[in-house]
Amino acid sequence: MLKSLHIDPGKCTGCKQCEMACSYEHEQSFNPSLSRIKVFDFHEQGRFVPYTCTQCTEAWCLQACPVDAISANESLGAKVVSADLCVGCKVCTIACPFGTISYNPRSGVVSKCDLCDGSPKCAEACPTGAITFVDASATGLDKMRQWAQKTDTAAG
């Protein structure tokens, strides 16, 4: 069964454990600025919104990549960057309309959520259940995909 991240901002307390876990898993350091999931702080409303890649079907990043460095892992339901093939041209970072793939100057390549090979560390680290890894059909992902489709350049 395909699983995906489900984010419920209402449960987020802004503890940023997810950012720490992500950064440690991928960059071997506890550095939230290197995290692929980001918690946004709406301080005027006292609200926190964790945000990362939805693994959208349009796969803007993958399509825009000039060197075939991003591939779709169908069994995982993730779009995955190959650090060996990425040249660091950053075209994907302007092509992704969600802003969920960013350049990492330290490594010289781009990085995005890869669902941690099937056991996302952000979901494991989240103490309040704001981030869960569940059956893809139950995540409301379709709503986000509808939005994704609005950005499609082909209308027809």
């Binding site: 980001k38 709406f42 060197v67 040249v87 302007i94 092509a95 802003g99 960013s102 939005w147 082909a154």
Partner: protein
């Protein structure tokens, strides 16, 4: 059904791949003129700094990508197109018939009309062959003059600087990347490059490139004579000595290598007599069809629709080429897909300073605009609005989540109250995006 695609760049390869997905049985022939597997010009700067080898530039990495999809690769230059007979003439004298044709022949660097532009020390930086030549000539300590600080010039600039050459950049405009960045941002990039040891001359123009023999007090005498004897000079295959680059200001710069990056032009020459309508590029409709039956065009050669203006123009950028290639192929295979238009956008890394621009970054009449400028930190952001919709943006020194600028522009999301918040602090664009574009699914869910 025989599909023929001319041009093995991103538009052509994407089209071939898409066609195979749509039509499992059609014959697909991809014609490219360069003696290389289909590769990405975008990757050449990274080849120059040896971050990748040549195979790292290939558009598709799987060894049997084309064979396994029954995409036939033909290495030939197309010399003419007969739209009535539905056939192509190839450089080897043979012909190739098509049922449906895609023209994705891309663009070529323009050759500025300058004395000495044909010298062997002058090169473009466009093909893998160019890259091999530059790797040989641009050794640490070499004196290199780069003509043009547009998008392509700036991409090459970083690669050259990393090769530790002594680099001088000559740009006609009054700032760097004048067609991608405004005055503040373009000059911020210029200052950054100067601080990194690159000599940047803006509002400057090369008037002549003098061969060693002809240059005053330089290159004559014994060495020049010997080089002449052994076939050196203007028509030699190998560079022979330094040229002198003369500027309009009267300044003279010695150079082992001059790289010309003064813009590109769509490859249209072979269309002469074909009856296909062209202007700046090939004119296409919203399905990427040309004026001829059964002929489509895509990528740098196509004058496609611009999302922001609705005008038709050559954008010559990678994401647009891929969009064109995909949509043209769907239509070639019998679908009816309209192109909404591509957003003109660019991202650039000049010696570690990252800049990007999107859509109508220069603003619109009766629109609103906000900018913030931190010159000491080399950061800049500018947002352009029409009403409460973001229509353009440019930034320097920002790398995180910049894709949302494209998302907000392309979805034409009404920002409502967030427009005013952005006018007060444009760096809050990610919050504005989450609150507006994703409002229904994220932020609003518990409201």
């Amino acid at each position: 059904m025989r599909y023929v695609i001319i041009g093995a760049g991103p538009a052509g390869v994407t089209a071939a791949e898409t066609l195979r997905g749509e039509d499992p049985n059609g014959e697909i022939i991809l014609v490219g003129e360069e003696p290389e597997p289909p590769y990405s010009r975008m990757a050449i700067p990274y080849l120059l700094v040896e971050k990748i080898g040549e195979a790292g530039t290939y558009l598709r990495k799987q060894d049997d990508f084309y064979r396994s999809r029954a995409i036939e690769l033909v290495q030939q230059r197309v010399t003419a197109l007969d739209t009535a007979a539905q056939g192509l003439s190839l450089a080897d004298g043979s012909t190739l018939a098509y049922d449906r044709l895609l023209i994705a022949t891309g663009a070529t660097p323009v050759r500025p009309p300058i004395d000495g532009i044909d010298s062997p020390q002058v090169s473009t930086c466009w093909t893998l062959a160019d890259a091999r030549r530059i790797v040989e000539s641009a050794q640490p300590g070499s004196e290199v003059v780069l003509m043009g600080a547009g998008f392509i010039g700036c991409i090459i600039l970083e690669a050259l600087a990393m090769r530790e050459v002594k680099l001088t950049v000559v740009e006609m405009g009054d700032r760097m990347v004048p067609r991608m960045m405004n005055d503040k941002a373009g000059n911020l990039i210029k200052q950054w490059c100067i601080n990194k040891g690159v000599q940047v001359l803006t509002s400057a123009q090369v008037t002549a490139i003098r061969a060693p023999q002809a240059a005053a007090n330089n290159g004559g005498g014994l060495m020049g004579g010997i080089k002449k004897l052994f076939g050196g000079g203007e028509n030699a295959a190998e560079p022979a000595g330094k040229v002198t680059v003369e500027l309009k200001s009267g300044e003279k710069i010695a150079a082992d290598l001059v790289i010309s990056a003064t813009g590109v032009r769509s490859n249209l020459a072979f269309l002469q007599g074909s009856g296909i309508d062209t202007e700046q590029g090939i004119k296409v409709d919203r399905q990427l069809r040309t004026s001829a039956d059964n002929v489509w065009a895509a990528g740098d050669v196509a004058q496609g629709r611009d999302f922001s203006t609705g005008d038709y123009q050559v954008q010559a950028i990678q994401p647009t080429s891929v969009e064109h290639g995909k949509i043209a192929a769907l239509n070639m295979a019998g679908a009816s897909v309209e192109h909404r238009g591509s957003i003109n956008m660019n991202v650039l890394d000049t010696l570690g300073l990252i800049s990007s621009s999107f859509g109508l970054w220069m603003g619109v009449e009766d629109g609103d605009s906000v900018e913030r400028y931190w010159p000491e930190a080399f950061r800049y952001i500018c947002l352009q609005f029409r009403g409460d919709v973001l229509v353009g943006a440019s930034c320097v020194g920002m790398t995180q989540h910049i894709g949302v600028l494209r998302g907000l522009i392309q979805t034409e999301t009404p920002l409502g109250a967030w427009k005013q918040k952005l006018m007060e602090d444009p760096t809050r664009v990610m919050e504005a995006y989450l609150a507006s574009a994703q409002g229904a699914t994220l932020v609003g869910s518990r409201a």
